[in-house]
Symmetry: D2
Subunit: 170 residues, 4 copies
């Protein structure tokens, strides 16, 4: 039985521009690292402390991926909703490695841009300023087992293509 929920909600800033990888089957995944930070005052020293957590986000949803490619860059602040997934891979020496990622599947996940302009140096042109359009700034896709059988998806969980599995992930 299922009866389970696997949900991650993050608000943070991209550590670098998104990267896109294409699969042999025509699919694509867009990925980026996202920083979330905690601040507190150290009771002993009285100093301010900060700890940053880095999350690896993987977007398989086509429309959200397109949005991410077009509008997100290093420094962008986003709301991301996805699921936790741990992937096993081998490094060059053949050692088993595990990487846990926040995955926005083909029919699930949400991305909302929160309006902080990134700090990308160069290109991107005059664009980048109009991402607050209706067609772009919000992606929210869902899919699950209860779907009757329409054309809107096959419910297959997102998975790395085999060739991607060979890469070092993070």
């Amino acid at each position: 039985m299922a009866g389970s929920v696997n949900k991650v909600i993050l608000v943070g800033n991209l550590g670098k521009d998104p990267e896109s990888r294409s699969f042999a089957n025509g699919g694509k995944v867009v990925s980026f690292t996202l920083a979330t930070s905690e601040n507190w005052n150290d009771k002993a020293s009285g100093e301010k402390r900060e700890k940053t957590e880095w999350h690896n986000v993987q977007i398989f949803n086509e429309n959200i991926a397109r949005t991410a490619e077009q509008y997100l860059k290093k420094g962008s602040k986003v709301y991301v909703e996805g699921k936790l997934q741990t992937r096993k891979w081998q490094d060059q020496s053949g050692n088993d490695k595990y990487t846990t990622e926040v995955v926005l599947e083909r029919f699930n996940g949400t991305l909302v841009m929160l309006g902080e302009r990134g700090e990308r140096g160069g290109s991107s042109g005059g664009g980048g300023g109009d991402w607050n359009q209706d067609s772009a700034p919000r992606g929210n896709f869902g899919g699950g087992g209860a779907r009757g059988g329409g054309t809107s998806g096959d419910g297959r969980p997102a998975a790395f293509d085999s060739d991607l599995d060979d890469d070092v992930p993070f």
Copy 2:
């Protein structure tokens, strides 16, 4: 403006069997009330206290609605994820009334059954015991503005049909 999130997550028990209403256009909405409770010890009296909050859940998503009709009943424990929506209506005397509901739209929302058997007395037949099937117990649908224009949805927010707007809601 975009850049917003509107999400409600509830785990609670149905106060009564779900009700279904059909629209003229063939659509359907399944609704139920859901109880969430808080318990605490009153510091003054030392007595145990409990406060129950009742939520009005409205399901427009077809597959989730079907699941709710088939498997949920009074007492069922569920995880529900939807959005907050306030509806205006008039009572018999013409007074304006507002009702806030947890809405699972046509392409958004999640319902997960959590395995507490209800206590429906009668009918339901031999059924009700097999709701733990893969096709049924989980509904998770999403839709949003970033969708490019595929066949998987029109992105129109769920809305009450006009004839339903005339009814007293809760």
Copy 3:
């Protein structure tokens, strides 16, 4: 038994400056309305459509309330996490009314400022620009029934003071 969850997560913009109300017992509540919006393309007309939902947020947590008073204003973008609560009250004519609010209790709830500068016209002085300090921008407080009996709270659910109950809420 409890075994329930009552959680609301919103990202949106304040519709007006926060308002503070003091209670006879020394307590305080800070409230504001928060807008969340959906955008979509109407399939029939091909026009862009937008629907805004307004949420009534009530902050009983002292530290979060102080943060809201100091740093939030009309237009500020925030992440808010609280619980759903419906309050009954009577209008001047003695009619029963119900208002559903997003409540950040004394020991529960989160507020995160998301960096959109508000559009408050006047005062606020040179301030308002430094809210991104560590001591201010994040409030996250929790409390619940499992608490053993420390000094950190009484677990009593947040409630409107009686004199507040007489007011029109929203």
Copy 4:
């Protein structure tokens, strides 16, 4: 930088009884693995497929830890809310390893038992049946940077004690 959110919400079943580890300073962490599952029908083969994700949950909150020790066992169904945290450690060969965990910090996190009785065979005594008490089944603690300086917490992020850092985690 502040203005961030790091939240994980899981509903799943414990893969084994919780384990407790004590620190030199008197602290304690209770941990368990939690399974979440997805089911779908493979479009190609028409077969039912299932994929299970395993999550490593670490509870530093004292009251929630106590609840987990007393009432949770292999098979228990729970709602867990915590934050994502990746820890670096070295295996016996001195290789760097990273483990991502769902952490319920000292002043943050929620655990709600969802009523599925576990199947622990042995000990546990006559207990285990009364976990549905008000003082136990719900833990919800929060803490964050906006806290003014009361006695209710120091805001220090949960961290593994050094001796624990030497252990293989998962």
